[in-house]
Amino acid sequence: MQYDFNFAGLLPYWHTFLDGAVLTLELTLASTVFGLAIGIFCSIGSRSRFRWINRACAVYVETIRNTPFLVQIFIFYFGLSSIGLQMPAAVAAVIAMVINVGAYSSEIIRAGMDAIPRGQIEAAECLGLSRPRIYWHVIMLPAFEKVYPAITSQFILMMLMSSITSQISTEELTAVANNVQSETFLSLESYIVVATLYLLLAVVLRLLFWLAGQLLFRRKRVITQAQRCSASVGNAAARKRKAVARKLPAVTIRG
């Protein structure tokens, strides 16, 4: 069966596609910033001494992680409006995304914090650092550095997940494709265009996150550089030592 692709028919709509992509990016940005904040608070809360804070954080994370995003969105948009809390689709979408990504990033950050060796925290206590300073310098920053790749890929997944908000008529990229295909009947073409745009956004975001990581974690960069340096220096030293060792037996025999 032959099918003639007609991408030219979509050209008049390039502006709508662009608008959709911009809204997708805005949703992603908002959920990244606020989701990260929630994630940090919740990961600190889940290490708290108070049992009920622990429990509350665990319940929040497990509930969100074990239910589909689509259902969460329906609860926030349709469910809350039926009990008197009405909000525009875009707002409901952002809130649902923030709550969702907050739970995931909290779990990731908590894993990073658990990976901090106990001795480092004790050392900081011995040095007389105050609790907030210990949290910030000894636990938070190194943990964040450690989980940075995992957390950024979670944000990129969130960008892709934002496509689901089209189901409550947020006018983002996928919703644009839905509208365009119902006007032009070029369904396959519209979705291929949108898929390409998502792919492009994902690649660009990954690049941006990588660059931001390079800027943010200068310490890490310096450390890896130093390691590489010392490794090469070490190799040179080892080579020298080997050369000496090769000479040594001869000397001892002669002696």
Partner: protein
């Protein structure tokens, strides 16, 4: 207006059944495809590795929802009237294969190189050492993340509701259309998903803990 009764509850339970069916089908198909993806990712031939890596990048960069639409309409234009179940199973299979392939590649590559060398010394071919030595060890390591991904798959099947497959979420929507009690219905739907997913999450975490005992 009707109120929520056992009729609706039964309908939701039927939706749970279809969610399970779709999850199992797509996880089974996805693991077969993912296994092939994993094999291609650790292949000795560079072009095979590059092509598979591109495939993974592309699939992981496209939302499942859009992939679902592409499959649904893409198969449709060939004049085949595809059932929603088939379309969503195909889309999920493609999506799952990319992610599972990547998970399994990670665990295969986490096996020490000395294992490869040892099996080479024993005179095993590359295939023999992969099947007999490497994969059995990698399997143990990959079990917790695979079960964790099964939870993801169960949640992702909710997207099949968009193309009209009546699973749990779609059943909830249909009931909501007749009762108009969205809060009750969707919280209930969410609770059903939670009941399906939470034990698996716990199991995955318990296995992970057991596996990490040696490393601590």
């Amino acid at each position: 207006m009707d109120s929520f009764s056992s009729v609706q509850l039964l309908y939701l339970l039927k939706g749970v059944g279809w969610t399970l069916v779709l999850s199992l089908i797509s996880f089974a198909l996805g693991s077969v495809a993912g296994f092939v993806v994993m094999l291609a990712r650790v292949s000795v031939h560079r072009p095979v590795r590059v092509v598979t890596s591109a495939y993974i990048q592309i699939i992981q960069g496209i939302p499942l929802l859009v992939l679902l639409f592409i499959v649904y309409f893409g198969v449709g234009i060939f004049g085949i009237n595809v059932a929603p179940l088939v379309a969503s199973a195909i889309a999920l299979m493609i999506h799952v294969s990319a992610f599972l392939g990547e998970i399994w590649r990670g665990s295969v590559q986490a096996i020490e190189k000395t294992q490869w060398e040892a099996s080479e010394c024993l005179g095993l071919s590359r295939w023999q050492s992969l099947i007999l030595v490497i994969i059995p060890q990698a399997l143990r390591m990959s079990l917790p993340p695979s079960v964790g991904y099964l939870v993801q798959v169960i949640k992702l099947t909710s997207l099949a509701s968009v193309v009209g497959f009546v699973e749990l979420t779609r059943a909830g929507q249909i009931i909501n259309n007749s009762l108009f009690q969205p809060f009750l219905v969707f919280v209930l739907v969410g609770a059903f998903y939670f009941v399906l997913c939470y034990p698996l999450s716990l199991w995955s975490r318990a296995m992970e803990r057991k596996l990490n005992v040696g490393n601590r």
